[in-house]
Homo-oligomer: 349 residues x 2
DNA sequence: TCAACACACTAAAGCGCATTAGTTGTTGGC
DNA sequence: GCCAACAACTAATGCGCTTTAGTGTGTTGA
């Protein structure tokens, strides 16, 4: 039983053991010129032997950055539906960051104002070198704020942001337009003409893109009854929106839900009203998940590699931190996984 | 358009503006004696005016700790079912940490070895002051490792850990035994005598507690056919275990699932075999979630305040960091939420 | 043969803060 | 009226690292 924890080794320890100065150690370990290959190798070995790792605090203090990026999730308490997407995204983000020994500082807050406050605090505390911004919205204050603070960022989910031209802000986004088009194509081909889109939060950029695409596709294909309604992503609002849609004068024969939770809730509403899925009503879920596979019937869903999406986002951020110019990148179009919840509409429709 | 980002204010800036030395500023802002009330107040005002926040790097370097705690999630890729529990837990953890301006460093890794490696690295890099350890298991190497490194920790999910007596390690855990007892009581009262428990990973401590309690209760009540089978928490293994249980010689009339995902998968298996729930088979899910509310029938589930659980865990860790002695705390017993998936067994049973 | 110069390395400063050891100026006690 | 005690403050040091400015040695060129 060792009561005193081991002291963390510093470059001073390495210097002593290797018989050189601390500066030489620093040069050697950082690949800087100024030491012979032999010395460099010796220092490396000693460092390894001692299990040395640079103190991020000391590094940060001497101007090297904190080797940490931040991610804030503004979650208005009720909106829990997007959970599984985020954990997969974060999991991908980590993979890339860990390879470069970057840490991820993670925080959940109530709303956008709190999120901005966290950014300011992290900046003042010098905690992070850059940020991953999720859930971009129209008139988003965050890109401007972060640019003002000089913090590089990658905005996940929107092609364009409201930030000055020179800002160190990259964007990555999913091809919501293409995805929505593929869904409408699938449903239209099956024979559906009355399609309702039960969307997520109206202020989010991707919600708007999906709604815009639905309108465009409906116009192009001559589907006057296609419409979108927005919700807060919760099962409760998803169910409520479903009830209203089905109770309307010209009820839809197909519903597209913006997340898995609402789709599942919608399925329950259909059952409660005695509608068979897919016989009377077809259902599509946006973003596949373990839920979609296990409902009865299993849900036709848009699927994509969310972890890979996260990896790419992190790569873009690391590139920015390395001084690369900002980029704008579209993710591959999600593919529609045909399961048992979509079929031709009932005959009388 | 401002091209040069604002410089972060330091205590030097405050000192200049307030007309005192840097040390006086430090004393004033940290509540240390050595400055008059008047000066202290003036310094505070200037600091506020400048939007000053202490640099965590500098603080960490001068021995104050990094104001950061870590949480590593070892997720063997397939095991995604526990997601919603973790996000709620983390969300609670944050609430407590944010109030004390602590950050949460979060990482997802593949397995236990990788998790231990992360602990070592964080320690060497001086990134964290303490850790939250989840998914404790029998013969868990982590408490010993962390004690050896001198890192305080709170183990979430087990009453006891294998660590030296003096270790700065607290534990908080849910009352799995009481919860399982309430489930068995409910089912037994309804008339069930053949109960199967489809559990999670066998190496986890709470899985063992649940299994042990099932055995004890079954013995006490004289239910020879009660048994547990372990899985990896995935919907696939949950479904598979359900199929095997139902195909056996004396199939259960009630199944208890260790998470919501497997319960939902089990529901699908019952449907596929033409069994009505709860007419032919009763189903109970451990941990309520949005899934349980939206299946058909809605699932009877054990429910608890996971965010509060996270808050308490974080409080215990902060207490340890403040030098308080380690504590062992049991969470309130989860309550069984009676929904539509449990009923008396069929008559011929 | 001596200056010019590259090379391998060391010394020293600085990042922002906490802290310890001074340095004043003011009271209090006798 | 003199020294001790104290309050209010400043100067200096160190945390671990990076980086700039040296310092000494050996090699080269004219």
């Amino acid at each position: 039983m060792r009561r005193t924890p081991p002291r963390r080794p510093t470059i001073k320890d390495i210097a002593r053991r290797a018989g050189v100065s601390e500066s030489a150690v620093s040069f050697a370990l950082n690949g800087r010129p100024g030491v012979s290959e032999a010395t460099r190798e010796r220092v490396r070995r000693v460092a390894e032997q001692l299990g040395w790792q640079p103190s991020t605090a000391a590094r940060a203090l001497s101007g090297e950055g904190a080797a940490t990026v931040g991610l804030v999730l503004a979650r208005p308490a009720r909106t829990l539906g997007v959970e599984s997407f985020f954990l997969r995204l974060v999991s991908g983000v980590q993979e890339t960051l860990a390879a470069r020994r970057f840490g991820l500082l993670f925080q959940v807050v109530e709303d956008l104002d709190a999120e901005c406050a966290v950014y300011r605090r992290w900046w003042a505390e010098r905690r992070v070198d850059g940020l991953l911004v999720v859930d971009p919205r129209a008139e988003d204050p965050r890109p401007g704020l972060l640019d003002g603070l000089g913090l590089p960022a990658v905005v996940i989910g929107a092609p364009a942001v409201t930030a000055p031209p020179g800002a160190a802000i990259s964007t990555v986004w999913a091809d919501d337009t293409g995805a929505m088009a593929s869904v409408i194509s699938h449903l239209h081909t099956l024979g559906h003409r009355r399609i309702t889109h039960i969307a997520g939060l109206p202020e989010l950029a991707h919600t708007r893109r999906r709604m815009a695409c639905l309108r465009a596709e409906a116009a192009r294909r001559g589907l006057p009854d296609a419409r979108s309604v927005t919700t807060d992503y919760s099962d409760a609002q998803g169910a409520e929106a479903t009830r209203r849609a089905l109770a309307g004068p010209r009820p839809p024969t197909a519903i597209v839900y913006d997340n898995d939770v609402m789709a599942v809730a919608g399925l329950a509403v259909a059952a409660e009203r005695g509608l068979s899925v897919p016989g009377d009503l077809s259902v599509v879920a946006w973003d596949d998940s373990v839920l979609c596979r296990n409902t009865h019937p299993a849900l036709t869903a848009l699927t994509r590699d969310t972890a890979a999406f996260g990896r790419r986002a992190a790569e873009h951020l690391l590139a920015l931190l390395d001084g690369a110019p900002p980029r704008r990148t579209q993710d591959p179009t999600p593919t529609l996984l045909h399961r048992a919840s979509t079929a031709p509409p009932p005959c009388e429709a």
